[in-house]
């Protein structure tokens, strides 16, 4: 804009939106680079278009087989699976958070001495390193089939999530409140409990609900690799071509996730 103004002494009646990336060479480098990448990616994508094309009418029949969703026939198994998923998610969330609190305190730069800091950051980084489902594969190998393996995998995932956010929240807290409590001669535990805990608690309650939500969603797939929960039921219904049951299970999962989401939104408004 300023360019056009300086070149023409009278006001120009022509205006062009300024580009999103101001440096022209960078803009063109990104555009051209991305275009080349896209071309190469699409070119090397090994897609069997014929198979995909043939699959479409099959897909239509398949989608039709989803309707109407069948809640009745396998309701015992489905109910057990859902319950297992819910309890797995709840206990993994609780257990994960209990473990996260000391780790999160240790991973906050302003609380912990540097060796504790690096130790706890290391724990967080390693628990965040792999997707939950890969953790679950190994948990199943170690602990056998069933919800315990899923519980372990989800707990590890919870630690990486919760401890990291807790540590980050503590690092940006109001330091003067912490100082004020400290000068009263409080012990370390009193200091944590009266100066730091009240500052981070509201956000942590919201986050723990959010993590419960994530854990439930994850528990729906952990069963595919043998970690218990509704995922196992879902996978079985797939392999048995009982797609109406599959549809019912998906609807139940979506409904529960929505309920959890609304609850957590409501809870967050209430505590903040």
């Amino acid at each position: 804009m300023s360019d056009t103004n300086s070149q023409t002494p009278s006001y120009s009646d022509y205006w062009k939106r300024p580009p999103f990336i101001k440096r022209a060479w960078l803009r063109w480098l990104l555009i051209v680079g991305f275009a080349i990448y896209l071309a190469v990616a699409l070119g090397t994508m090994d897609v069997d278009w014929q198979r995909a094309w043939e699959g479409l009418p099959r897909g239509q029949r398949f989608i039709q087989a989803f309707f109407p969703p069948n809640f009745a026939d396998n309701r015992g198994v489905v109910f057990d699976g859902i319950m297992e998923s819910i309890w797995m998610a709840i206990s993994a969330t609780i257990f994960g958070i209990i473990l996260s609190i000391p780790i999160g305190l240790g991973a906050a730069r302003n609380l912990a001495p540097s060796w504790v800091y690096f130790l706890c950051r290391g724990i967080i980084a390693s628990s965040r390193s792999f997707p939950e489902i890969i953790m679950a594969i190994f948990a199943v190998k170690l602990f056998g089939f069933g919800p315990f393996a899923g519980f372990v995998a989800l707990s590890i995932g919870t630690i990486g999530f919760f401890a990291k956010l807790l540590a980050e929240d503590i690092e940006v807290m109001n330091a003067s409140q912490a100082e004020a409590v400290k000068v009263t001669g409080s012990s370390w535990f009193q200091w944590i409990n009266y100066a730091i805990q009240p500052q981070v608690m509201p956000r942590m309650i919201g986050l723990s609900m959010y993590r419960l939500d994530i854990n439930f969603r994850e528990s729906a797939v952990i069963g595919i690799v043998g970690g218990g929960g509704i995922g196992a039921t879902l996978n079985t219904s797939f392999s048995r071509y009982e797609f109406d049951t599959t549809a019912a299970i998906l609807i139940i999962i979506i409904a529960i996730v929505m309920v959890l989401e609304y609850t957590s939104g409501y809870l967050r408004k209430w505590v903040q």
Binding site: R17, F20, Y37, A41, L42, T44, M45, D46, V47, D48, R51, A52, G55, L56, R58, G59, F62, M83, E84, W87, M88, I90, S91, I94, F95, S129, F130, P131, I133, I134, I137, F138, K141, L142, F143, G144, G146, P147, F148, F151, Y194, R217, E218, A220, V221, I224, V225, G228, L234, N235, F238, L250, I253, I254, V257, M258, E261
Partner: protein, 270 residues
């Protein structure tokens, strides 16, 4: 904050008796739920297997060492595929999310019914894990990269349009009014007043979502939807543990690099 008069002077307490009791109640409720959940899980667990876990972990660990470095020759293509699934899936989601987000945002929605519909799409897409989407799509489209890409795309629409429509709802309305005052049409208002305000969010969320999708696409192969997960499940099923450790190493590196790239790009935008 109550003060209690004692013979030694006033005593400060943090909570009133009622507040303490309420808190005690919630703690008790929480503990009960935790104990009950634990009992249900423990009933379904074969503790004999759990006891042998440390020994088994040591066993698998020793079998995994050293990683099979030469297997890397086979892995380049799956890694490339994994990244492509994530990138193309993110692009699909970004394109579809634009109309969905504008329909879902209170200030740009054409009709409340359209808003409800958009919110329904958002919620459905987010509730179903990409692995389940992939499971369904492998059935329809056959195993391979295409199913994985579309699965990632379908899963990302929800997360993407949620963040985007929240950004649209939080824009500065004054700018829209200013454009409107020039006699601009509704579409021109969107292009000149709303888009410039949400563009940084759009790109930022896109990169953030891409990072999540790289993580997600590493496992899609477990159900046959392409990427490095296919090799992972193959090697686990054939008990080729040195290959497994190599694959895990590669996944770890991919995830770390994508996280780094996404953090850098977002840092440059914001």
């Amino acid at each position: 904050m109550p003060l209690i008069e004692t013979k030694d002077g006033p005593l400060w307490k943090r909570r009133t008796l009622k507040q303490s009791l309420t808190r005690l109640f919630w703690w008790m409720l929480g503990l009960t739920v935790a104990a009950f959940a634990w009992k249900l899980i423990s009933d379904k667990t074969n503790w004999f297997f759990v006891q042998s876990a440390p020994k088994e972990a040591a066993d698998i660990g020793s079998r995994m060492m050293p990683p099979d470095w030469s297997y890397m020759d086979v892995l380049w293509i799956p890694v490339w595929e994994t990244i492509n699934i994530a990138t193309l899936g993110t692009l699909i989601a970004m394109v579809i999310s634009i109309p969905v987000a504008f329909m879902a945002a209170r200030n740009t929605t054409p009709h409340p019914l359209a808003r409800a519909f958009a919110l329904f799409i958002t919620a459905t897409s987010r509730s179903v894990n990409s692995l389940i989407w992939a499971l369904i799509l492998v059935f329809i489209l056959g195993p391979g990269v295409l199913a994985g890409t579309i699965a990632i795309g379908l899963r990302s629409i929800g997360g993407f349009s949620k963040l985007l429509y929240e950004a649209i709802e939080e824009i500065n309305p004054v700018q829209v009014e200013a454009i409107e005052a020039t006699g601009a049409s509704r579409l021109q208002q969107i292009i000149y007043a709303i888009v410039p305000q949400v563009l940084p969010t759009f790109v930022g969320v896109g990169v953030f979502r891409w990072d999540i999708n790289v993580r997600g696409s590493t496992i899609l192969g477990l159900v046959g939807a392409g990427g490095i997960g296919l090799q992972l499940s193959g090697s686990i099923n054939t008990l080729a543990w040195t290959q497994v450790s190599m694959i895990l190493l590669v996944i770890l590196l991919t995830v770390i690099i994508s996280e780094w790239v996404s953090a850098k790009v977002r840092g440059a935008i914001i």
